[in-house]
Symmetry: C2
Subunit: 224 residues, 2 copies
């Protein structure tokens, strides 16, 4: 469901150039829980952003569900992402002016799904936050913001879920619940789940792991 071929990414800031990804290729099948791991600064967020169409690679192709997203126009890419992709940002990226419920409802509205409020409350309940519905991000703890971001990414049942360190701010019980939730999406609903993580607990539910180091793939361990 996800095929990345020969991805290269150079960041250019003023006169400086930094080659963050070198010849990275990756394949993730539907129904699979795939982990992307590696040291801080190794290029994981950069790669995930490219796979989600949020960043254009300097070289290489990305194919999602049969679509060459690197070839799509900006508006067609935006529509594709809205329809097929749920993305959890490393920094959560919640809308600060909206409550937890509104942050999730907006995703349903954008997708034209009716009864947005009802569905938003159900999703927040799934991540243990039904009682935080009316709180804005500034009035939420770190782990609560993270869970709102996860709920928002799951709105509308996207076929592909990409999550950048979705348990980083969570204790073991909440982290376990999220890991189980993500695993079930892949195994019982056939979604494709790609998770960037430093969390060794997630290895238990992973089918495969891709390791990055200094912008290159170094290991592809098949575990399952």
């Amino acid at each position: 469901a996800i095929v990345a071929s020969h991805i290269n990414l150079v960041y250019r800031n003023g006169g400086e150039e930094f080659n963050a990804l070198q010849d990275v290729s990756l394949t993730v099948k539907s129904g699979e829980v795939h982990l992307l791991m590696g040291p801080s600064g190794s290029g994981k967020t950069t790669l995930l952003s490219i796979l989600a169409g949020l960043l254009t690679p300097t070289r290489g192709q990305v194919n999602l569900l049969g679509e060459e997203i690197t070839q799509l126009s900006r508006s067609r890419l935006a529509a594709f992402r809205l329809k097929h992709l749920g993305f959890v940002f490393q920094g959560f990226n919640l809308f600060p002016a909206l409550t937890a419920c509104e942050n999730v409802e907006v995703a349903f509205h954008l997708k034209g799904v009716p009864q947005a409020r009802k569905h938003a409350i159900e999703l927040l309940d799934q991540v243990g936050l039904a009682d935080r519905c009316n709180h804005r991000p500034q009035d939420l703890s770190g782990g609560q913001k993270q869970r709102v971001a996860i709920a928002r990414a799951l709105a509308g049942n996207p076929q592909i879920i990409m999550a950048d360190e979705p348990t980083a701010a969570l204790d073991s019980q909440n982290g376990h619940a999220i890991i189980t939730l993500l695993r079930n999406l892949a195994k019982t609903s056939g979604r494709t789940v790609l998770i960037v993580t430093h969390d060794p607990r997630i290895l238990d539910v992973a089918d495969r792991v891709t390791d990055l180091e200094d912008g290159k793939v170094v290991t592809k361990a098949k575990l399952g």
Copy 2:
């Protein structure tokens, strides 16, 4: 070095009230590595903010290094914090317009320590980021921002270090380096180190643990 007595904190937003901390007391000695653990939303960030004088408790007292900080005027409290406390925020709180080096240098300037640039580079080197000196936060990875925040908190050798989940964004190798760094500050330099964490790896270097659940202290396990 840190004594909190009967801390109570009620958040009031418009008509709503939320009692985030109920009758919390805590003692941390100098030379000690003390962990504050508990589920997401249990009140850890709230408590740390009160202990650091960043938030005023609804009831209760906080004594740092013999000083009743809850009694100090705002300006005297600010001066006290600058002199004695290094604080690592859960969200890093870096100055977005400044580079990594400048973020750390500013701390030295504020404390009147000469040769700020030289010291800033040394600290960034200690957290593995000497080569990111001239990058601004938007051009840094999550774990790199976290390490800059840690370096900034250590500027000027503060007597007390409080860190809110300082390894959340770090892989095992970088996480281990930070844990070792914090431990040595307590053990070889006699500082007081209070760490909020979900990271079980940090238990290895901890002397004592305080567990929070729903705003109350539930366990004080002495490990050492």
